[in-house]
Symmetry: C2
Subunit: 329 residues, 2 copies
Amino acid sequence: MTSRERPNEDGLIARFFAPLAGEGAFGLKDDVACVSPKPGHDLLLTTDALVETVHFLPEDLPASIARKALGVNVSDLAAKGADPAGFLLSLALPETWTEEWLAAFAAGLGEAARDFACPLLGGDTVKARGALTLCVTAIGEVPTGRMVRRTTAQVGDVICVTGTIGDAALGLKLRKAPAWAESLSPGERAHLADRYLHPQPRHHLARALRTHAHAAMDVSDGLAGDLAKMVRVNGVSAVVEADTVPLSPGVQKAIKVDPGLYDLAVTGGDDYEILCTVPEKKLDSFMKEADSVGVMLSAIGRIVQGHEIPVFRMRGSERRYDAGSFSHF
Amino acid sequence: MTSRERPNEDGLIARFFAPLAGEGAFGLKDDVACVSPKPGHDLLLTTDALVETVHFLPEDLPASIARKALGVNVSDLAAKGADPAGFLLSLALPETWTEEWLAAFAAGLGEAARDFACPLLGGDTVKARGALTLCVTAIGEVPTGRMVRRTTAQVGDVICVTGTIGDAALGLKLRKAPAWAESLSPGERAHLADRYLHPQPRHHLARALRTHAHAAMDVSDGLAGDLAKMVRVNGVSAVVEADTVPLSPGVQKAIKVDPGLYDLAVTGGDDYEILCTVPEKKLDSFMKEADSVGVMLSAIGRIVQGHEIPVFRMRGSERRYDAGSFSHF
């Protein structure tokens, strides 16, 4: 099929994206979406761009790319205690796009939007000059004044993190078939690979976060680096008990074979877990609520006075991850 | 200066973008902005991406690129009767970016944000794989239920357009020094060139639009094509009196030299004027209000029954611009 036979922008929107449109999107027949928060709620807005080869790989399936683009934005909202309300998508498509690719992308996007309860509200489609580039702006809702900030951690708070850390970073490494991969079962390898491809935003934790956490952010650029960012903006420091950082069975096995992979696990990107600080007296209640919504939660350290970058305490040693943080920029 | 010496993403945000942050942006220290509409208001959201060589040219000044990226989004809001409330910016920067470029870009962005009363609320900065690519999501405010839709034109409505049409399309052509350019004064040439570089969103017309217009959209892909889009989604047709389409002195002169340029003027992109339909009985009041906020407004035709693409009536002939509409996609 030549590019002349492909639908123009309006045809493309009507065919692939209008079926995904939520309330306030006017069937994507207008340029603008209308959103009103429920009474007593604020709207939260976040935007993240994804570029092929930087944030995903050319061989990734279009449905996976779509899910990731939405998931990383919903993850930002979740970390602020917000429930997803919808999203806008800008898609810069290289000349080589095909209808087949776009149909699979839209199907994956629609499925992710349903899973995250976050409907499509609008967007834009343009020609890329270079690699496929996506920009999602996600909108969330939070009771007025209850957004969980990054800058409100307090000395003495317990540091918690959801899920497991390092899966995505090792999942990406797996593609190069490293020696340590042989010690993992097929299921463990599949789990790690999937965690890179398909972030699991922890939006079910939003309500528990806003009633328990002092401060929160999502872990996208590596646990160590993101914790360092958090303590810096709070003018505090942190102590992490290295062996309490939650690791999946596959990552644990990999580290046994190659101990240096611990550093990769805590500095690698793409976890999309939630890092938060909680006053000790609320910790039990927070753990229980997390459990009740099916989100694994681990206490990994404390916010302490000081201005140093966080220390990870190991048996017999300690480590600070200086500029080791992964960054997409 | 090598790329190693340039600030990282956090440093870049703190230095160039945090000074532009508006209320609800938390000094860009968080990933997420908090926005609440005034009581009795809806929020409107729109997003437009701009790609180097598609929407602006490599030789354009960084301040101009910034102003255009924000301006085209504010133009979308204005056409819906919304007052700007803020914006998010995703910036995919090629490896070759310099601090000097970014400083000029941020300065231009800040100036445009002040001019449009539309502060920066958040964003993302990533590596581009290819050309500079920007994505702006703009947020506007409109009294509840008063968004001016595209799909609510009525047969008998007068079609109006702001400003002048075709300036930007001819301004872009000017760069290739066509023969007709010689008949224009330096001031006229500068005006056309500026209109391509610096859209003038008609946000001052927002209030008058929502009290007078049945339907509206902004003209970004050419008057003829955008009017065709509007009548199509309304299941109607339109008659335009070709010689009432407002043309600047430079465009008038150019058309005298080369009559074919009329077609370019009404099909070329980048006008960023407002196209709207108004019931006849409100036309006088609408014209007066537009005048009082300094926005030029012209009545150019009528919404009529039918399903044909709009007709432009000339002296002794008529013209329909079929697929002649300019499209960035």
